[in-house]
Symmetry: C2
Subunit: 463 residues, 2 copies
Amino acid sequence: MIRLAYGRMLRDALDGEHGLPREQLGDLARRFTAVREEVQSRRAAGEYGFYGLVDQGPTVRAIKTFAEGLGQAHDHVLVLGIGGSALGTKALLNALRRPGWNEWDDEGREFFPRLTVLENVDPTSVAAALERIDPRRVLVNVISKSGGTAETMAQYLVVQAWLEKTLGQAAHRHLVFTTDPSRGALRELAQRDHVPTLDVPADVGGRFSVLSPVGLLPAALVGIDVDGLLSGARRALERSETDDLLQNPPALYAALHWSADLTLGARVHVLMPYTDRLREFAEWYRQLWAESLGKRVDRSGKVVHLGPTPVAAVGATDQHSQVQLFMEGPFDKVITFIAVEDFGVDLPIPNPPDLSEALPPDLAYLPGHTLGELLQAEYQATSAALAQMGRMNCTLRFPDLSADTLGEAIMFFQLATGYAGAWYGIDPFDQPGVELGKRLTYAAMGRPGYVSEKSDQSLSDVV
Amino acid sequence: MIRLAYGRMLRDALDGEHGLPREQLGDLARRFTAVREEVQSRRAAGEYGFYGLVDQGPTVRAIKTFAEGLGQAHDHVLVLGIGGSALGTKALLNALRRPGWNEWDDEGREFFPRLTVLENVDPTSVAAALERIDPRRVLVNVISKSGGTAETMAQYLVVQAWLEKTLGQAAHRHLVFTTDPSRGALRELAQRDHVPTLDVPADVGGRFSVLSPVGLLPAALVGIDVDGLLSGARRALERSETDDLLQNPPALYAALHWSADLTLGARVHVLMPYTDRLREFAEWYRQLWAESLGKRVDRSGKVVHLGPTPVAAVGATDQHSQVQLFMEGPFDKVITFIAVEDFGVDLPIPNPPDLSEALPPDLAYLPGHTLGELLQAEYQATSAALAQMGRMNCTLRFPDLSADTLGEAIMFFQLATGYAGAWYGIDPFDQPGVELGKRLTYAAMGRPGYVSEKSDQSLSDVV
């Protein structure tokens, strides 16, 4: 079970000057009644569809059947998707498969396929992937909730032609689509071309969809324990079913961050796991937090222009990059650490083999410890140092890093985002700010019905 | 040559309400005289050592000799380093070698070695790398300016034992150290164990060192054109040798960002290249900007707690992640795009092969264009949309992405950082804020002379 340690959000554990006053916990707990009522009523109205993802037995069976059948026939899974259709899958692969997955040979991957996620229309990366991958051995999973995402559909047209060039009519046997149950161009193509499909539930938005077939199919294909993911997610959800804020981890997490933003101006929210294996998870979180909470108007339509800026970091690595700023810069940040208690593997830092050749004295403290101990010591030191410098921080403690705890963490952050939406008073499930950019893109690409708007930059202000 | 388009930093190109008033350009230009004088005098005093990196002929020859000699004998380069000893190398590999470099076979890599950078002490990633890599075919480049970086030296002890287990006394032939010319534990070990070394110039700090042997040796080993990097860097430096702010790209970049922060509260500085190949470059920039400018005190010792928060993004990908926040959230950001005009490769978006089976109408606008055109259209649309929403943004235009333009961009940002230090009135070359965390780590690890300070977290504030 994941635990949230939040003491260092509070003034009494910092420098006595910064941080939230302890009394605020009581205030937030009292106000939480209304927040939770709002969430519950919106949930009843179908807004919070992602809660339902912990209970999708038939879907999971279908995914497993697919992965154990057709999936087995391929040694490379190529995901075409962007944003919520890519970030979750990358996070699962990074966390739950061996580091450097695609660099291992078949045996090193226990005969599960390689996995490549194409999440951009950069011609160099798409061309390189298609040159490297054998079309006869690939399964292409095209993922788009709407079925009309420009980047994904452009990739698809390129990849489909690449498949057909080698495979001819058999190309469609290398395809599986994940899309809306009934609407959109991808659904239309699937029906016409007899491509197997999985559904993104209509009430689950892209950035909340990693525990739907969007993330679960690629995960199952590379041998990740999808039942474990969902059982962890279920635990997070169950722990969150209480009106007592101080017993409701994701709700408390949301309340503390909202309060730090609103009352102390701590608008930069950093997620800093102390493990390489959650690097992509921090990027997944970044989309979830940014796109859900960064909004122009509140629920009443009032212009508010609010939203914290999420920042992804990795410890210990970023102690040599971003931590100087976190320690000494403006008091505008909250740092959330993730500390994994047991990595399941560790490496002793050895003594030099020839004892007559002692190490330089500056290094003599290292042997006898392990890399894992050093990493833990660095996390504890960084958290303590930040507290001494008056910097709010909290920690999610993972007993280990498994499908179960990762599923719990995914649901924890989704729940926290849902609560944060209610605290901020905005709709965490829309993304109206990207529409203008889409319209301008369509116009530039000559899509019927989109008129080119003036979008030229000044030619004079260039150096 | 890279061009900076900055019109959309100015109010008259935005919504008329946000952005910098055009008159500010004149004010900044007048104030620049003093800023440049300060930079010049500090440069004369030896503080801005990185300027000297464009002129290191003998070093470059030594690097090339090494890479063409001993380097050729290995098919994997393993870099042990962290922060400034890792981020630059990762950026060079990502930008200038084929995407997915380590996944290509020998021919696909033109017989240059694979390259792995270990930049953490996470036991899972270190263990996986050592299990995957053949010690008989590896060259290990240990990089630490001080020679005493805890993470790197712990890695080194683990890796050295791993080499010796297979290679015995021959282990040292698989090592090369990059460190301070005269001081530190790594230098001491090199002399004792007869390990070849390259120098990090004493006056060049870690985060400004990618164009020193720190980045150039790994680059040369994987076949990157180091002369090209330096010729580009030289051009950036030459263009910056003017007192006219409006003709001095990195100085103008620094001035506009400082002014946006100080006068408009735009304290989040986003770097968003529209190409996968600069993803790691944005992370390199993030360290440079964060660690250089995030400071507690100014040059006079006054407590200021300032520093912008740099954020890394990638277009078009992050249009589906962070851009909603950039468009609609607080007016606290400046976005810098990088737009590459010619990728050297492009992929047409094909028409469906069977014209009788037309695409769904929603997708009919795509065929006939290329992926590169779509990417360009998305960059232009996003920049224009941000401007319409009153969001400051500017663009670095790269004619192509080559060693020459990347070297120019590296030096551009280093110069901009040096100028920004002068605008902010702080020392951009120190990092005093990380010392406390180091002391607490040493204490926890039992290093002599470091006394354990109270660093326990409250056990009660946990849920």
